[in-house]
C-alpha cells in the first residue's frame, strides 16, 4: 500500500486515543469517529497536524451513521483499514432484570455500526485487493463467560460472529478481519465498575494488575499491517503483560 487511510470507530475511547498516539503516524489519513470530543482526542488531532478527519456520530442513530459514511465518501477518504472500538458502559445486572432495550442498544452500537461501516467500505477494499478490519471484542468471548452482564456477552458474541462470517467471505479477496479480546485494562471504561469488582479482577489476573493500553494497541497495529495478510477470523486474547521488575 502506498498511501494508507484508517477509519477509527470510537476514537474518543482511551484505547482509540492510545492507538492513534502510538501508530497514527503510520497513516496518511485518519478518519476519527467520536460521539463526545474530549481533551485527549483533541491533542491527538492537533499532533497529527491535519491528517485527522474528525467525524461526530451517535452510533445509536442510523441516520447519523449514514451521514458519517456519506461524509467520508465525499472527503474521498476511503479507508483501507478500520478499527472498531465500541464500549457500551456495562453495569452488572441480573439477566431477568435487563430490558430487551438494553440488549438492542448494545447490538446497535456494536454490531449494527460494524455492519454498516463494513458494508460501506469493503467493496472498495475488494476492488483494491487489500483491506483490514479489527474489532475490539472482550475476554468474555474467550472460554467461560461471566454472569450478570448477559447483554454485554451477547453483543460481543454477535460481533465475533461477524468477524467469523466476514473473514470467510472476504479472505479470498485480500481483506482480513480479526477480533482482539483484552482482559480488564486500565482505562476510564472500567470506572463505573464497583471498586470491589475491579479488585476481584486484579486479584484473579495473572499479572496481579490491570493491563495497560500499550499492552493492547500494538496487536491492533500488527493485524492492520501488510505482514499480517495470513491472519483472518482470529480472536486474539490479551491477558498478560510486561513483568515490571519488583
Amino acid at each position: 500500500m502506498d498511501k494508507r487511510t484508517v477509519l477509527i470507530i470510537g476514537a474518543s475511547s482511551d484505547l482509540g486515543c492510545a492507538f492513534l498516539e502510538h501508530y497514527g503516524k503510520e497513516y496518511d489519513t485518519i478518519v476519527a469517529h467520536y460521539r463526545r470530543m474530549n481533551a485527549r482526542l483533541e491533542s491527538v488531532i492537533q499532533q497529527a497536524k491535519g491528517r485527522v478527519i474528525p467525524v461526530k456520530a451517535d452510533l445509536l442513530n442510523e441516520s447519523e451513521v449514514r451521514e458519517m459514511i456519506r461524509y467520508i465518501e465525499n472527503e474521498n477518504a476511503w479507508p483501507d483499514s478500520i478499527v472498531h472500538f465500541t464500549a457500551p458502559q456495562c453495569e452488572n445486572q441480573r439477566f431477568n432484570k435487563i430490558d430487551w432495550q438494553v440488549f438492542s442498544d448494545e447490538i446497535n452500537i456494536g454490531l449494527k455500526s460494524a455492519v454498516m461501516v463494513a458494508q460501506a467500505f469493503f467493496p472498495k477494499m475488494t476492488k483494491d485487493h487489500f483491506g483490514r478490519m479489527v474489532v475490539i471484542l472482550s475476554s468474555v468471548t474467550c472460554g467461560e463467560a461471566p454472569g450478570f452482564c448477559a447483554n454485554y456477552v451477547v453483543s460481543k458474541y454477535a460481533l465475533l460472529g461477524l468477524v467469523k462470517a466476514l473473514s470467510a467471505e472476504y479472505g479470498p479477496k485480500g481483506i482480513t478481519i480479526n477480533g482482539i479480546s483484552p482482559h480488564w485494562t486500565n482505562t476510564k471504561y472500567i470506572t463505573n465498575q464497583p471498586q470491589v469488582l475491579v479488585e476481584k479482577q486484579v486479584a484473579e489476573s495473572p499479572m496481579g494488575r490491570l493491563l495497560e493500553e500499550d499492552e493492547i494497541v500494538p496487536t491492533i497495529a500488527y493485524l492492520l499491517s501488510d505482514e499480517a495478510s495470513g491472519i483472518s477470523g482470529e480472536n486474539i486474547e490479551i491477558k498478560y503483560g510486561k513483568q515490571i521488575r519488583k
Binding site: N92, G147, P194, V196, L197, E199, V202, A203
Partner: protein
C-alpha cells in the same frame, strides 16, 4: 459502636439489598440461610456495607465474607 448497633445497622443493609423486611441476622447467619445471597448480591452487599459504615473492606476478605458473625467482627475492628 456497640455490637448491637452494628447488628441493627447491618440488618437494615441486608433488608434493603435483598428487599426483604423479614430478614433477621444473628452471628451464625451465612449465605446458605438467605436464598438470594449469590455472587451478584454479594457484591452489592459489600458495596452497601462499605457505604453504611464508610470504610473499605480489605480485598480478599470481601470474597470470603459469607458469614454475618465475621462481618460484625470486621466492622467492629476496622470501622
Amino acid at each position: 459502636m456497640s455490637r448491637e448497633e452494628v447488628f441493627e445497622r447491618l440488618t437494615n443493609v441486608f433488608r434493603e439489598v435483598f428487599d426483604d423486611e423479614s430478614i433477621v441476622l444473628n452471628d451464625t447467619t451465612t449465605s446458605d440461610d438467605i436464598e438470594d445471597w449469590d455472587s451478584f448480591e454479594h457484591i452489592n452487599l459489600i458495596v452497601a456495607i462499605e457505604e453504611e459504615f464508610s470504610f473499605k473492606i480489605p480485598m480478599g476478605k470481601t470474597v470470603t465474607l459469607k458469614n454475618v458473625g465475621e462481618m460484625v467482627d470486621l466492622i467492629l475492628t476496622i470501622a
